[in-house]
Symmetry: C2
């Protein structure tokens, strides 16, 4: 099966900042079939640098970023469920973002694009779901920033979602998480080619964006997984070079990942999306996290990973405690993995079993 | 007491790379008095961005970087001991480094400076100690990169040191530690003002160096200490700015520390010193770490801190195990602290007690 990205268009969206963005377009993909009762739809929410292409192969032969859990017989079983994934607002993979041409000026928005929030991303997703004729989702799920969106869905639209699966995520960014994002932003803005965001006619700020991505990759892995994958192995040499070319495998890996990222990601989107993550605080506007989650009506399955030091388990446990304090239906599992934050994408065996069972029981309950 | 930085000059030093560097100058300070037997000298070894000014105030009114453990009645008691601290080879605080003018060309070395190692730094320190008329040091001690030098002293010059106190350090850099250093180097080299290292007549690569330093600061603190110090507090505003100026206190802190660092540190020194740390592997040239440490003759006090995730305790325990496997005299303490890697500089009460006792008993043994 070769999947295609589709597009939905809306006249306008009003953002948390008060600004109205008009018009707005959403890139999305769907897998499987919507049933007659429209009760089997699952919305998959992507992480920071993800996109709408979550599963199967597309025309370019690229596999979806979560293909190992979405498909026939997989955790998000496309034989049973209708799975949707959309590129987030502010992104650079089809949905309106800073690289989009502003119709009023005929030039890319660049830094005139309004600052967006996780709540804004979710608001646009709700508009998409409505256009697809779906009133209530069977489930929303995602890891990292995808988990933030899943939590926001449960709070913003309690009647519109039956089950929530936030993975390797947090109810709000900590100082350390903000700090890592800020370093990435500063790396981009330090690149003279960034040119205050106005680079779409000239060279891209690729050096700064690559550095930002390298920092990211370190935080996505664990100390142990980097030791196993690279250790102190040298790259293409038996002895130190005593120069500043690549000595170690890990240096080569980081440089490669940095340069590959520049090919597919827009630096301004990096700024806007990382800002949305830093602004995210599910308890904002409520007396407490418990109060925020107390207004949800869904069942929750919260997952975290032992070696994830970027989104450590204690942040998932805060969510679980807040839900239980309001007697909400929540199950929590900490999965053993060496892969760090990347675990939710790569170490999916146990994750798959848990998700499969949770979806099946929710679906059975809805049908009953 | 106002201290002054002194300078020692040497005709030449031969480096681990095989290159001879000539001439070479060392900036150092001393505190306290050398006794008649020349048996009370302690060499303090600074970390990555440190310098020779370890204690007391200098003429500019600046307190030394480890003033809270060096001084009269303090852990490194200057009423009893003669304390020496020198800026490392490759540094930018008085000792010969990439910013030094190469006599042969009349221009700063810049990237023609030879790549140096921790072993080279220690070799130059040994020359300095010799010039000061000291054959055997009572102790060598330092944290982080200072701890690497302390370990190297014990292996390179076993007869020249009685006690070794490596703090918050490792016998070799892990893939993760190399990765963080590489990101810093890439941030500097991505700055167009870096100009392949040839910037001494023009603008300095301050933006890249600031980004490198910001990454460093995150790794020096713990998640908990950042939460306590900053949390999600906003800086000078009650609500989000919905722009890319400073929102959070932690952003302001990182930008400030980044910009301050640029005033006092040379970007090329950052490259060379971080490379020396990455090359460091105490077991290199030996069959094992045990074999390397088996040739030492000193007593060891190894210290690490619970919340230090940059130089985690397991790396100190590797050193302890290797020493014990050769029946060496070693004590190890893991100190409880929230301050992360910075703990060795700031959370010094328990550290001081342990160091004081260890030095006193070593000194008594030598005198006996």
């Amino acid at each position: 099966m070769v999947v295609e990205t589709k597009f939905a268009r809306f006249d306008s969206i009003t953002l948390d900042s008060g600004v109205a963005l008009a018009p707005v377009e959403v890139a999305y993909e769907t897998y499987g079939a919507l049933n007659a009762a429209r009760s089997n739809a699952i919305l998959i929410l992507h992480a920071f640098s993800g996109d709408a292409h979550a599963a199967f192969e597309n025309a370019e032969g690229q596999e979806g970023w979560w293909d190992n859990v979405i498909g026939p017989g997989k955790a998000f079983d496309t034989d049973r469920y209708f799975v949707i994934c959309a590129n987030v607002l502010g992104g650079c993979r089809g949905t309106t973002g800073p690289a989009t041409v502003n119709g009023a000026t005929g030039r890319p928005y660049a830094m005139t694009f309004p600052v967006i929030t996780i709540g804004d991303m979710v608001r646009l997703q709700k508009m998409l779901i409505g256009q697809l004729g779906i009133e209530r989702l069977l489930a929303v799920s995602g890891g990292s920033m995808g988990g933030m969106q899943a939590l926001q869905w449960a709070v913003s639209y309690p009647e519109a979602v039956a089950a929530v699966i936030p993975i390797a995520t947090t109810s709000r960014h900590s100082a350390q998480q903000i700090a890592f994002n800020e370093v990435g932003r500063q790396a981009i803005m330090a690149d003279t080619d960034w040119n205050s965001g106005d680079y779409y006619d000239g060279p891209k700020p690729g050096r700064g964006l690559a550095v930002a991505r390298m920092v990211g990759h370190i935080t996505y892995m664990s100390d142990a997984s980097m030791r196993e994958k690279f250790g102190r192995r040298l790259r293409g040499k038996d002895e130190f070079g005593f120069d500043f070319s690549v000595d170690f495998e890990v240096e080569s890996y980081l440089r490669y990942r940095g340069s590959k990222f520049v090919e597919r990601f827009d630096a301004n989107s990096y700024l806007y999306i990382s800002k949305a993550m830093d602004y995210f605080d599910l308890s904002a506007g409520h007396a407490s996290l418990g109060d925020a989650l107390g207004q949800t009506a869904a069942r929750f399955l919260v997952l975290s990973f032992t070696s994830d030091w970027l989104y450590p388990s204690y942040q998932s446990l805060e969510i679980v405690r807040a839900l239980r304090s309001r007697n909400r239906d929540v199950a929590y599992c900490e999965l053993t993995s060496n892969y760090g934050h990347d675990a939710f994408l790569v170490d999916v065996r146990e994750e798959s079993d848990l998700v499969r069972g949770f979806l099946a029981s929710t679906y059975a309950e809805i049908a009953a």
